[in-house]
Assembly symmetry: C2
Homo-oligomer: 176 residues x 2
DNA sequence: AAGTCACTGCGGCAAAATGCCGCAGTGGAT
DNA sequence: ATCCACTGCGGCATTTTGCCGCAGTGACTT
């Protein structure tokens, strides 16, 4: 039974993911922040995997990577982020992360990453080239989640009218 | 004088970049493909940096990474790609790349990457969160370039009407 | 308890964008 | 010369968007 640490401040998302991982046979220890996680699990405890959110309340997430790495040198360290970027992904890898996923990834993908099979996310995807509609939809979902579901704020950030956002959300997502 | 290898099949882009790097004091050896590059530069030659395009005509680019790594173990290996993704970036890093940049990056950024200062690309970028219009514009530019400027094909790939694409292109880009 | 404030969901309507024709021109290949 | 793919552009019906406004809700204050 693989024992993993789930560090994520969004409570709803955390418990959902924790449940999904547990039902897949993992022992999950939850924590809303990294410092708490370090205290929560004694150093001797055999943590095999860590899921770390990049945007914890005040902490930068990246700062936590090194500390977590030192604490559990042999654990798989998977970064989870709502709105990610390539430079940030590379940066975390250099800091010692083993993988870097978006929150839009499903529990299965996270599980694979924890087990070290990054192929699931890395596999032969030569050039999907998302359609414009697809790209737009994904971006909206990302920002929406990042704004905690606040439609007004999301619309403002995206630079579109609130009404328009609502209408877009009412429609079903583009299949691809 | 740093000697670098530029492997890129888009001739216009390659010569432009080569010129930009040369004027910055680098010795640039150009090649349209990886196998040619291996032949072009004798194994003894002290190559210090490699810039590798991910989408060479037939080759996958990723396949070339290992060969290039073996040939010049100590060279900085920087991946350049038109349309990149986070999983692909991580994959190339695991294969032995040192950095991964989009073609939209400027010569200065590429230079920094070759020198090992990935901070330039990785620096404090907390969350730009592009507007919808901005995101759309960038994606269009990327795909357009990838289609070699073919408007009809680009429109098809993006899933929009050709006329609409033309109209979008006629407008000036969103400032932010 | 009444009041304030930020959000949401929705209707309406003019303005703008889009899809979907078609047509002329151009440059390359046969 | 002929075919073919692409481009630029006009027109037009349809859809989408921006920009109001209004009512309802829940949290928080006075």
């Amino acid at each position: 039974m693989m024992k993993v640490l789930l560090i994520e401040d969004d409570e709803a998302f955390r418990s959902t993911l924790a449940f999904a991982l547990k039902r897949r046979g993992l022992a999950v220890i939850e924590s809303p922040d990294a410092v708490g996680a370090l205290a929560l699990a004694p150093a001797g405890e055999a943590i095999e995997g860590i899921v770390l959110d990049m945007r914890l309340g005040g902490e930068s997430g990246a700062d936590s990577i090194k500390a977590l790495r030192e604490h559990w040198p042999s654990a798989r360290l998977v970064i989870l982020t709502g709105y990610g970027s390539i430079p940030e992904a590379l940066h975390t890898m250099r800091l010692g992360a083993d993988d870097y996923l978006l929150k839009s990834a499903g529990a299965d993908q996270i599980l694979e990453a924890l087990r070290g099979n990054s192929q699931g996310t890395t596999r032969s995807a030569p050039a999907p080239v998302p359609s414009l509609a697809r790209l737009e939809w994904e971006h909206i979902q990302r920002v929406l989640h990042e704004c905690g579901g606040n439609v007004s704020r999301t619309a403002e950030v995206l630079g579109i009218d609130r009404r328009t956002l609502q209408r877009k959300l009412a429609k079903l997502p583009p299949e691809s």
